[in-house]
């Protein structure tokens, strides 16, 4: 065993890498770099990046009720919410302002954990680089709003679960409402029809 043969062995390893990078595919020890802007790896469903606000059907119909829980929960305090009021000064269940400072946000995902209204979720969008960090990275409500279809597209598993839950809750609510209605119409002798009506 000659002194220095270990070095030669190591050098052969790198030489093999060097040559195989030209002649071999990514799975056989060749290059495995993906040329990013042109080619992309498929996104993983569990990828979590900056948050967005979910709306149903139309942008006006957003789920957020401006409860401020997420803003309180946010560790770096990057969420800023102002409740909307109607003309009489009564509070409405929707935010007038919903700002997230993405330069401050640290992608912890506590907001989506905390939100009881399924209104805020973590996004997959990571290409947000910008030349103007002061204005362009302070996302306002309009920048944050994304449809439920988008949510369903990027995170199908979570979205279907959420949708099922919401649907169920809605059913229950409707049933309750129907029950209330039925109670209200108690004199009327048509109680058995009440439970069936929503299903129909």
């Amino acid at each position: 065993m000659i002194f220095g043969s270990g070095i030669l062995k190591g050098m052969l390893v790198t030489l093999k890498n060097f040559t195989s990078s030209y002649f071999k595919g990514p799975d056989e020890g060749g290059l495995f770099t993906v040329q990013y802007p042109e080619k992309r790896l498929p996104e993983k469903e569990n990828f979590r990046n900056f948050p967005f606000l979910v709306f149903d059907n139309t942008p006006d119909n957003l789920r957020c009720v401006a409860c401020d829980i997420c803003a309180k929960e946010c560790p770096p305090k990057c969420i800023y919410i102002v409740r909307e009021f109607d003309k009489e000064g009564r509070p409405l269940k929707r935010p007038a302002t919903f700002d997230i400072d993405l330069t401050v946000c640290m992608n912890c995902g506590f907001c989506e954990e905390a939100c009881p209204f399924d209104a805020i979720y973590m996004d997959h969008d990571f290409e947000i680089a910008n030349a103007d960090r002061h204005d362009k990275l302070l996302y306002h409500k309009d920048d944050l709003l994304k449809s439920n279809e988008y949510f369903r597209k990027i995170r199908p598993t979570n979205a279907s679960a959420v949708d099922a839950r919401r649907h169920e809750a809605e059913e229950k609510k409707k049933a309750a409402a129907a029950a209330v209605a039925a109670k209200a119409a108690a004199p009327k002798p048509t109680p058995p029809a009440a439970p069936n009506s929503p299903a129909a």
Binding site: I2, G10, M11, T14, L15, N17, F18, S21, L31
Partner: protein, 383 residues
């Protein structure tokens, strides 16, 4: 094809000779050589950076830079533009003059060494009869600018890095020169041209590196050269994990680029001198022009340097010094004797004896450097 550059130069001089006085022609002849070198040096450096990044990338299964231009060929130019436009930062209490002078001066020896390199047949810029000594002397002065940089930055990491560089350069210069001594002994000349001519046998393949002593000398010279230009694995003067960037910690922009340039030109010149001394210089079978042979050999040595960098981890300081003083230096001394043995013996005993001596001295030195741990004694028949 072989003499294309020589012909080009004399053609230009002929054209100039029509309207210039004789003394001006001499000046122009010098100027043309200088210009060629002054272009070759930086361009070499620029493309060495690209080569290094590509090769190291490939060794790590990455493609390396490939965005600027096809295969990234314009990357060095882009880098150059970036360097030039970068802010030049001078520390508040730095020694202004030295801080400014160091990067300028460090390029000088690196460029000056190009003067004695035989790039091809009849293509030595200046054919000094003490060319090798010139190389040694000039490259030894590069310690001073490094001192200036480390001192002028007024930064303790810079100072530590400078000290390490100097200690390393002084230590490795000794085995480097001694490793070249057998070549000078057998050639009987210090001129780089003569050394190349002495290796012209066997159709341009009688390289000194193909003899036992030459092989040992070649390995030692090349290792010392790698250490002289502070490249991995001897780059602990620039050990990021310990002392940031060593002596050029406080440099940015073009000044930093100059240090970088000097380092790459040094690795080029070391490879070139190594080629000249041991690999036959521009000698080679005739199907390629001489300068192409030269550049092929030089670049393959540079490739080996990059290969080292892609493979080996950094030395510890005591290992570095131990290697130079305990292994390389005695090995070079033994090598000188072996070269003498080679010169004064004949026949098979010359070859076999030299090979055996090289291997024996190497093994012996390695054994001597090993620490002895006695075996534990076992008693069989004693109670």
């Amino acid at each position: 094809m072989d003499q294309i550059f020589v012909t080009l130069k004399s053609g230009i001089l002929d054209q100039l000779g029509r309207f210039l006085p004789d003394w001006a022609l001499v000046v122009h002849s010098v100027l043309i050589s200088i210009t060629a070198i002054a272009i070759l040096g930086p361009v070499t450096m620029m493309y060495l950076t690209l080569l290094e990044r590509k090769v190291v990338g490939r060794m790590q299964n990455r493609p390396g830079p490939n965005r600027v231009g096809k295969w990234g060929v314009l990357q060095p130019i882009a880098d150059g533009i970036k360097m030039l436009t970068k802010e030049d930062i001078v520390p508040l209490r730095a020694d202004g003059v030295l801080h400014f002078l160091a990067p300028v001066l460090i390029v000088m020896p690196a460029l000056l060494v190009f003067a004695v390199i035989p790039f091809g047949r009849n293509m030595t810029p200046v054919n000094l009869n003490i060319g090798f000594l010139y190389f040694i002397a000039v490259s030894s002065t590069s310690a001073i600018p490094i001192f200036m940089a480390s001192w002028g930055s007024r930064n303790k990491y810079a100072l530590l890095g400078g000290m390490r560089v100097i200690a390393q350069m002084i230590s490795y210069e000794v085995p480097m020169v001694l490793a070249a001594v057998p070549v000078l002994m057998l050639t009987g000349s210090l001129s780089t041209n003569d050394i190349v001519t002495a290796q012209s046998g066997w159709g341009g393949l009688q390289w000194f590196a193909l003899t036992p002593w030459g092989f040992a000398g070649f390995i030692i010279f090349f290792l010392c050269g790698v250490a002289e230009c502070n490249r991995s694995p001897f780059d602990l003067a620039e050990a990021e994990s310990e002392i940031i960037a060593g002596f050029h910690t406080e440099y940015s922009g073009m000044k930093f680029a100059l240090f970088y340039m000097a380092e790459f030109m040094n690795s080029f010149t070391v490879s070139a001198i190594c080629t000249t001394l041991f690999l036959g210089g521009w000698q080679g079978p005739g199907f390629l022009p001489s300068w192409l042979w030269f550049f092929l050999k030089t670049y393959s040595l540079i490739f080996v340097m990059i290969w080292f960098r892609g493979t080996l981890p950094r030395f510890r300081i005591d290992q570095l010094m131990g290697l130079a003083w305990k292994l390389l230096l005695p090995m070079t001394l033994a090598n000188i004797l072996i070269a003498g043995f080679w010169h004064f013996t004949h026949g098979w005993i010359k070859i076999a004896g030299s090979i055996a001596l090289v291997i024996a001295s190497y093994e012996g030195l390695v054994r001597l450097n090993q620490r002895y741990t006695p075996e534990k004694r076992v008693y069989t028949f004693a109670e």
